[in-house]
């Protein structure tokens, strides 16, 4: 895990872990800890934690075996951005017309998914602390 000071009040935390469901709890814990730093309410933390879980589940569904899941958190109060990236087999953007997507957008706020030329799929969640603001 590495932490970098950004230029203008932005901090980055990066986590790389095996693309395997067994490691997702690490990401959930990291998400909770970082969201707490930005003064998210405990409800918002729980929402984001589920959203991260859901996003990773989407990635893992088409991930190339024995590769890494790359997760980058950007802390820019009051917004936490979580980008999860992994190499995929099909390079397919998740359909927006699924329950999983609904869950993501309902819980995380802003969600985008992109695929690059190497079939790396990135799902980006942006959630802004509202409760305590």
């Amino acid at each position: 895990m590495s932490l970098t000071k950004g230029a203008v009040g932005e901090d980055f935390v990066e986590v790389r872990l095996p693309a395997d469901g067994a490691y997702l709890s690490v990401l959930r814990t990291a998400t909770a800890g970082l969201a707490a730093r930005l003064d998210f309410t405990i409800d918002e933390i729980e929402d984001l934690r589920i959203a991260v879980d859901e996003a990773c589940a989407m990635l893992l569904a088409q991930v190339v075996a024995d590769t890494e899941l790359h997760c980058r958190f950007t802390l820019a109060a009051p917004t936490l951005t979580v980008e999860v990236t992994a190499p995929t087999r099909y390079g397919k953007v998740p359909a927006r017309d699924t329950f999983a997507w609904t869950v993501l957008t309902a819980l995380a706020g802003e969600v985008t998914a992109t695929v690059d030329s190497d079939q790396h799929l990135t799902i980006t969640l942006r959630k802004t602390a509202e409760g305590a603001a």
């Binding site: 067994a22 707490a36 309410t41 918002e44 609904t102």
Partner: protein
């Protein structure tokens, strides 16, 4: 190898059709007078159409020490509330509106239940303090507290609070917490199984029952699902449907008899 994209197209088309149907029903429901007898069946149908969403969300909280059945049950209550409160004028998809309500209901369930899992005593005590402080602060602030606020109130470090919250989620063990293999693509699983399966898990005749269930009238099917899949009592179902418990009992008995008979014929 099957082309996954082709599968998805089919699936999306199916879901789109389902959404259109739900939209139509919601509009119809909104247009009915409060006393209209057609409201009940329409409301039931709407709930039923969205049961896969309920199950999907409930699954996100499994392995935290509460049986999935219970989670599906409380999640279904959230869904019913959503159907009742949904306002077409808002211009949002129903599922988008319903999701936070359903999740909220599940979270409340965890808050109310305390625990079902073995957790070190130190954490149990912390959790107890946390839930009291959360309730008090929520009352005072009119929103959920932040970790910082909880730490201040309890005179603990933020790290301890996080630890307490984590344990409250009762992630039992790492290995249990892993999503089932191949289950990562949950929507597909939901699509392929249908919510009935959960209810009938462990029932020997599962495969043969499924087509029979599909043939049931909506209300009978709903009662069956709520009773066996949602784990609701007959009285709870009666309250939900606005009919007497005796009536529920009769409908259940009749439906089960019919199912059994059909099953024998099919065999």
């Amino acid at each position: 190898m099957v082309d996954p994209t082709a599968n998805d197209v089919v699936r999306d088309a199916g879901r789109e059709a389902e959404r259109d149907r739900a939209r139509g029903m919601l509009a119809e429901l909104a247009a009915l007078a409060p006393e209209d007898p057609r409201r009940g069946p329409l409301r039931d149908a709407l709930v039923e159409v969205h049961l896969p969403l309920v199950e999907h969300l409930a699954r996100r909280f499994r392995n935290r020490g509460e049986p999935l059945d219970d989670l599906v049950q409380v999640a279904t209550i959230g869904l019913i509330k959503s159907v009742d409160r949904f306002d077409l004028e808002r211009g949002v998809e129903f599922s988008t509106y319903a999701t936070p309500t359903i999740v909220g209901e599940i979270k409340r369930h965890f808050r109310d239940r305390g625990w079902a899992v073995r957790v070190p005593r130190r954490l149990q005590e912390l959790r107890l303090h946390l839930s009291t402080a959360t309730a008090e602060l929520s009352q005072q602030l009119g929103r959920a507290p932040t970790v910082h606020e909880l730490a201040e109130r309890l005179g603990r470090s933020e790290e301890e609070i996080l630890e307490g919250l984590e344990s409250a989620n009762a992630y039992s063990t790492l290995s249990l917490d892993v999503p089932d293999q191949g289950e990562g693509d949950s929507p597909a699983v939901v699509d392929s199984l249908g919510s009935e399966d959960e209810a009938l898990a462990g029932v020997e005749y599962r495969e043969s029952l499924k087509p029979l269930l599909e043939r049931l009238p909506p209300r009978e099917k709903r009662i069956l699902l709520l009773r066996f899949f949602g784990g609701m009592t007959q009285s709870q179902i009666a309250t939900e449907l606005g009919i007497s418990q005796m009536h529920v009992s009769r409908l259940l008995a009749r439906t089960l008899t019919k199912l059994r008979a059909d099953l024998l014929v099919e065999e």
